[in-house]
Subunit: 190 residues, 4 copies
Amino acid sequence: MRVKDETKRLAIVENTLDIVFEKGIAGIKMSVLAKRVGISPSTLYVYFKTKEDLIHSIATSLLKQMSKNQESALASESTFELKFRAKWINLLNFLLNHEKEVNFIDQWKQSPYFDKKSSKVWEYNKKVKNELFNEGREKEVLKDVNDFIIYAVMSGTAKQIIGLVKQGDLSLDKNSIDLYFSLVWDALKR
Amino acid sequence: MRVKDETKRLAIVENTLDIVFEKGIAGIKMSVLAKRVGISPSTLYVYFKTKEDLIHSIATSLLKQMSKNQESALASESTFELKFRAKWINLLNFLLNHEKEVNFIDQWKQSPYFDKKSSKVWEYNKKVKNELFNEGREKEVLKDVNDFIIYAVMSGTAKQIIGLVKQGDLSLDKNSIDLYFSLVWDALKR
Amino acid sequence: MRVKDETKRLAIVENTLDIVFEKGIAGIKMSVLAKRVGISPSTLYVYFKTKEDLIHSIATSLLKQMSKNQESALASESTFELKFRAKWINLLNFLLNHEKEVNFIDQWKQSPYFDKKSSKVWEYNKKVKNELFNEGREKEVLKDVNDFIIYAVMSGTAKQIIGLVKQGDLSLDKNSIDLYFSLVWDALKR
Amino acid sequence: MRVKDETKRLAIVENTLDIVFEKGIAGIKMSVLAKRVGISPSTLYVYFKTKEDLIHSIATSLLKQMSKNQESALASESTFELKFRAKWINLLNFLLNHEKEVNFIDQWKQSPYFDKKSSKVWEYNKKVKNELFNEGREKEVLKDVNDFIIYAVMSGTAKQIIGLVKQGDLSLDKNSIDLYFSLVWDALKR
DNA sequence: CATGAATGAGCCTTCATTCAT
DNA sequence: TATGAATGAAGGCTCATTCAT
């Protein structure tokens, strides 16, 4: 595969994310997508077998990226709270900087394109464990609740905050972030 | 003269919610919807002018319902914490018992059917104020943070929990609920 | 049949003519017609068996009226030219005052509603003879050309004039009419 | 890449004219048209954006053609009468040989497809002036009447004659044409 | 007779995909 | 590989007509 082609593939993916962000997953039209990318509709089929394949490919690849991000080293902070904080802020930033990717996955999970085959990929994603939570519970600084709950508080809060930031109802300056995290921490710390 | 059956309108709405829940908003096909309701496709157009009108009508009506639910009196609990708890559990129950309705609104907001006109309805919904939060801050039992943050923690956590419950990863027995709320309360109490 | 009903029938016919005049014969929609008349669509079917029947009935009845008008006594003018003039002006007036009726017939003749059955009615209409033309030729004041030609010049010119009058390009005052007729007369007089 | 076939566009137009001639403008059904042309219904939309566009395009193009025909040089006949005769016979021939085109325009002007936008095109058509008429009046061989009247007599008579010829009531041999023109000339000559 | 709800037939149009170059 | 023309399948919607009161 030549370099030129890989660029084109990326452009297709990028534009798909944009379209989904603007119009929803139901708004993906092959001809419109092609026009945005600047190629012919039939050329799309050189890179992706069908529309379903396009969507499925993007979703799978995004899920891998996201897992990778989550697993990414958590800096070498001194205290647990600082490590946990880094983790949460990492999540917050991810949601902020990858809104299109996150949005794509959210919509995909509820679309007709998400079927049995897809769900396997999704299940896999769910299994990614979190060493950090174990550490916190063992050191008795985190409440003794299961991973799901911890993650629910972390991500639920983060998602809502980002949503409100996007709507212009909240800001994300240093102080605000400190405040937001303090709430999450108060919820989970022992 | 045959008389217009209000039951029929309700059946149409109900089946639309079901379809969106099962297949996503892109899965609404007028002919399929009609078959599920047990009427002719053209009869749909007696009750709703177009497909767009159908979706917009449902969304508008659901938003009204939701606002009403949120405003509903919160019992006469003795302490503030109990009142707040009642409010949060009300939210939790709403998300649990109206998953289809909530799902419809979530999908609608990101679909091509959500346009400028629709967003006005949505903006209205956002303005619903919360007396309870004021009371909590004045009595100095809630942290002195703005409504958006409080709501972010409340609803973000609740949404995630319900999602995990639906996936079978969390349970909703009395003890669990107590636990979940304690986290929320720890996050927000002063 | 009661009087009330006959009024309604007339109203239906009248409104049909209006619609055809405004939107063309393809613009007849039973529901719209009903609304204009101020009755229910189904009531239309009390007076006319089908849409086709409605159109056919109107056409037939109009053709009868028109024949009658043509046959109508031509006053007792002294000279042949005056008689002929009266006849032509009668035609001119008819076209002017019955534009909707004439328009309906014109459109009907080219529509899918004009089929074999209908054409019989039309043929009949064509056969209406014109005693006047015979008289003119016998008295050797009209050129010795057949009825069709005479009628072609008379009606062709009249139709065009009325068309131009309707568009505001010609006027119909006494002097103008005299002028217009003088052309027709010059064409046909011996 | 398959290449766009201009023949196809012409075939579509041709068949549309035929259909309108046979069934009226209301008889245009995209599926039937496609079948007659020998293509798929969706292929029609490669050449014309919508049905309305198809009709409007044809009308506009025909009006241009017609204007052009009218403007076409009128041979270099010696006398004015011969020039005028050539002009009229040109008109007669046009009506005879382009009955479908003329019929299309006639029906279009009274159909729901003829709206404000269209009427502009039509107005333009009306403005085409006639040098010939000026010449005739100046040379004092034509009566001193305005263009509209002259045109009314010319075209009104021609239209009726062609109509009768089509119905088999008149013939168009050399002698007949001479006769018909003599009437027109008698009407207009000084 | 009068009505408005209900419907089936059919039309216009879109769109993912394939064809032919 | 790249393309734009071509298409079949399907979807939204209209409208004349009938039903049931």
